[in-house]
């Protein structure tokens, strides 16, 4: 059974008299351990798609199944638990909390976890993750004291904190130079090798080319779905 199943997902925005079909019936399956890139022109609906995948937004219609959950039927508390435990979301704009240190940012998901883990174990895991992304020596730095690439690495560590099976990244390299982008891509490949399912959005053909599978979107529809 696939990990993610999207069938005929639609998202309609209504602004006054104008309706925008951001997603006009999207269907696809993503299996476990897949490494997928989503590509398409600006405004084609990639972010809308990622937000629905990440349980940050609800589709106007259509069915979304993640693991055993029928996501479209879930209530806000269950969605929060899925965001906490089953999905790690990485944003283009990093979205670290500015008043917290790198370490505190990585620990943040634990505060919303429903199963109790000792504080010492949590901290050990956070430090291990920071070590893995090469920023252990920056753990007391706040986001403003780090480069974009470093912030995005901290954001990835945060997404990994609860050890979710799925990592979703909406243009994780969009704000980075090629060196920073490369580092992020390498980390994602490593995570994939470790068994995570990874879905990321990119504009960049060379970065998209690294994925095992590319889903192309245009005007809210899937126009191509190819395996490299």
């Amino acid at each position: 059974m696939s990990l993610i199943a999207f069938s005929d997902i639609r998202k309609v925005y209504t602004i006054g008299a104008v309706t925008i079909d951001a997603l006009a019936g999207v269907s696809f399956d993503i299996g476990e351990h897949e490494f997928v890139a989503i590509m398409g022109p600006s405004g084609s609906g990639k972010s809308t798609l990622m937000h629905i995948l990440g349980c940050l937004d609800a589709p106007t219609s259509g069915a979304y199944r993640l693991e055993d959950y029928d996501v479209s039927q879930l209530r806000s508390n269950d969605l929060a638990r899925i965001r906490n435990r089953d999905i790690g979301f990485v944003f283009q704009a990093y979205n670290l909390l500015p008043h917290l240190s790198a370490l505190e940012n990585v620990l943040l998901p634990c505060t919303y976890s429903t199963h109790a883990v000792s504080g010492r174990d949590e901290k050990a895991r956070a430090l291990e993750l920071l070590e893995r992304i090469g920023l252990k020596d920056r753990m007391y730095n706040r986001p403003v004291e780090m480069s974009g690439g470093e912030q995005q690495r901290v954001a990835i560590a945060r997404a990994l904190m609860m050890n979710p099976p799925v990592i979703l990244a909406d243009e994780p390299t969009g704000n980075l130079n090629s060196k920073g982008a490369r580092e992020i891509l390498d980390i994602m490949k490593e995570l994939h090798a470790d068994g995570k399912t990874i879905v990321y959005v990119t504009h960049d053909d060379t970065i998209g080319a690294e994925a095992e599978r590319v889903i192309r979107i245009q005007d809210g529809r899937v126009v191509a779905d190819e395996r490299n």
Binding site: H51, L56, S76, N77, A80, F91, L108, T111, Y112
Partner: protein, 413 residues
């Protein structure tokens, strides 16, 4: 999210905007201080009035001439120096209480009573070159018992003094210290309205009481009044009647009323009950205190609206943070609790500071002008109120925050 984390987050957020948090708290500080201080003034006033009233014994009745249609509170019917003179409306002229009336009453009342007839007049007291004005109280030995006046030095007026019209007097504490600063007055001669009297005793100080204070008074034998001070023969201005069993006061009032009405053939007298007046004062002062607290409560309300305002600003400013927290798994409840704790913390700290301000304020500032009493219950009320204000005015902003949709909150710039 456990509560300890929530508290740490909340203190952090409050501390991050120190000035703004303090200004917000100021509303609560002022509100709580106003409530506590106004209640302190109310309670203080009540306590001081009650202590003055009760210093003359709570089982006492006052019998005076003239039927009064509108008697609120007792006091000294002739002078009214205590500030609570009874209304004189409806005093029928010509009515009087005589010594015979009192003997008549004493003989017929079934419960045992102690009767103390008194007359009063203003006098001038002189020793050598020192002169002071005071009150002359013409009384019998029972006066000392019913008014709880004790003798600090010497002796009381005796029955012999009364029957022989002896010019022996007991002086108040202030009279003693004014006229004889360096020595005991007992055995000395003083001049009252020009005539010579012998001091046989000094009364212990009682402080201010309702009516005239014994401290600035001179107690003279009852009979001396009509002999040397022009008080009409047999006339008694005010009689204090002490019920030996205070629980029977009501019955005694009824009996005396019946006895005297029968004798005078009309109700041309008034009996006042100290216990009833005390109850009246207590209830009216409680109303006053509540009113004062309500006025203070208004400023607390304004402070609460200030908290709500600042929390709404804070929610708007931190919309993106809320979105991030939700993306990481925060439930609506987590966000709600976070903002509620923050608003409660603001108002509780404001409340505690307000209590400190009010205790200092009423001890060092307000107490110079009036009696204050900060009571435990008013502090409890203040704390409870400030928690309630924080929660009540925090709920709306916190719910607004909790219900934000994750994507929309994340999109917020």
């Amino acid at each position: 999210m456990d509560l300890r984390d929530s508290f740490r987050n909340a203190t952090r957020a409050i501390w991050a905007a120190k000035m703004r948090s303090f200004l917000t708290m100021l509303g609560i500080i002022i509100g709580i201080a106003a409530v506590v201080m106004l209640m302190a003034v109310g309670n203080g006033t009540k306590q001081s009035i009650l202590s003055r009233m009760q210093s003359s014994g709570s089982g006492n009745l006052y019998l005076t001439a003239g039927a009064r249609s509108n008697v609120l509170m007792g006091g000294n019917p002739e002078g009214g120096a205590g500030g609570f003179a009874a209304s004189r409306a409806g005093v029928s002229s010509g009515a009087e209480i005589t010594a015979q009336d009192l003997t008549y009453i004493e003989a017929r009342v079934t419960y045992s009573v102690v009767v103390s007839p008194t007359n009063q007049t203003n006098i001038t007291i002189k020793n050598g070159n020192t002169t002071m004005s005071g009150t002359g109280i013409f009384a019998t030995p029972t006066y000392f018992q019913v008014e709880n006046v004790t003798i600090a030095d010497g002796r009381m007026i005796s029955d012999g003094d009364v029957s022989n019209r002896t010019r022996n007097v007991v002086i108040g504490n202030t009279v003693q210290t004014t006229l004889f600063p360096n020595e005991s007055a007992v055995g000395q001669l003083i001049r009252i309205n020009g005539a010579s009297y012998k001091v046989v005793g000094v009364a212990a100080s009682k402080g201010e009481t309702v009516g005239s204070s014994v401290d600035t008074a001179i107690v003279l034998p009852f009979s001396v009044g009509e002999k040397s001070f022009g008080i009409a023969h047999n006339r008694v201005q005010r009689t204090t009647i002490e019920c030996v069993d205070p629980t029977q006061t009501k019955v005694v009032i009824a009996e005396i009323t019946d006895i005297l009405t029968l004798k005078h053939k009309k109700v041309d007298f008034t009996i006042q009950d100290v216990a009833a007046m005390t109850a009246l004062v207590t209830s009216s002062m409680t109303i006053l205190t509540t009113l004062l607290a309500a006025i203070g409560g208004l400023s607390l309300l304004v402070g609460g609206i200030g908290i709500m305002n600042i929390m709404l600003v804070s929610v708007t400013e931190r919309t993106r943070e809320i979105g991030i927290r939700k993306a990481l798994g925060a439930r609506e409840r987590d966000i709600l609790v976070q903002f509620l704790i923050e608003s409660s913390l603001l108002s509780i700290s404001g409340g505690i500071l307000g209590i400190v301000v009010s205790v200092l304020g009423s001890d060092f500032v307000v107490s110079r002008f009036t009696t204050t009493a900060v009571t435990g219950s008013s502090i409890l009320l203040a704390v409870g109120f400030s928690i309630a204000v924080g929660v009540f005015f925090g709920v709306y902003p916190a719910r607004t925050a909790a219900r934000l949709k994750p994507v929309e909150a994340l999109r917020y710039e």
